[in-house]
Symmetry: C2
Subunit: 110 residues, 2 copies
């Protein structure tokens, strides 16, 4: 699979707000699929599992099977690679400062 | 526009490989639309302008008009926000180390 194909999978995975929300939850702590389903009561288990499968295929989560449980862990390396590609280590400090300045400015000015 | 709507625009914009390529070029230096078109001879000017418009709408580029020229500048703040959301300042160093380790490992082991 080329880098372009891998990137297609990553950005396709991140383009859905439910999948972004799943990553938000997994950033805080790794969770079983059952526990994730309980956090999203509006979605059925099958939908959640489909979203997790898209995230796994993109390398954004790592799934570990422990007995009958499926533990889902965030893998932040693809996110890090996005940052490296368009910001890189040297511009990271400037980007961080700009981001804080942007948040500190009143809405009408920023 | 909600944050979810803004994020939808950002990830939709990043989901196309030509648009990612345009950002790669603009990371190196800001360019006029004409100069960008010359770099992508397989695509017509209208297609390039449509891609630039999607990037501008997502806030990934800033377009500056100077006389008859349109100068396109990369705006890396949305990329920085992606990094902040799932990695954050405290995990950035660990992610950077892991990324280097991953690249240093032979393909069959990593």
């Amino acid at each position: 699979m080329s880098n372009d194909d891998e990137d297609d999978l990553i950005f396709k995975a991140l383009s859905h707000r439910v999948r972004r929300r799943l990553l938000d939850v997994l950033k805080v702590e790794s969770m079983t699929t059952g526990a994730l389903c309980a956090l999203f009561p509006d979605l059925d288990r099958c939908t959640i599992m489909q979203h997790l499968s898209v995230l796994e295929e993109a390398g954004l989560i790592v799934v570990e099977r422990r007995g009958r449980e499926r533990w889902n862990h965030l893998d932040a390396l693809p996110i890090h690679a996005i940052h490296e590609r368009w910001i890189g280590p040297y511009a990271a400090y400037a980007a961080s400062m700009l981001s804080r300045l942007n948040k500190a400015l009143p809405e009408e000015v920023s």
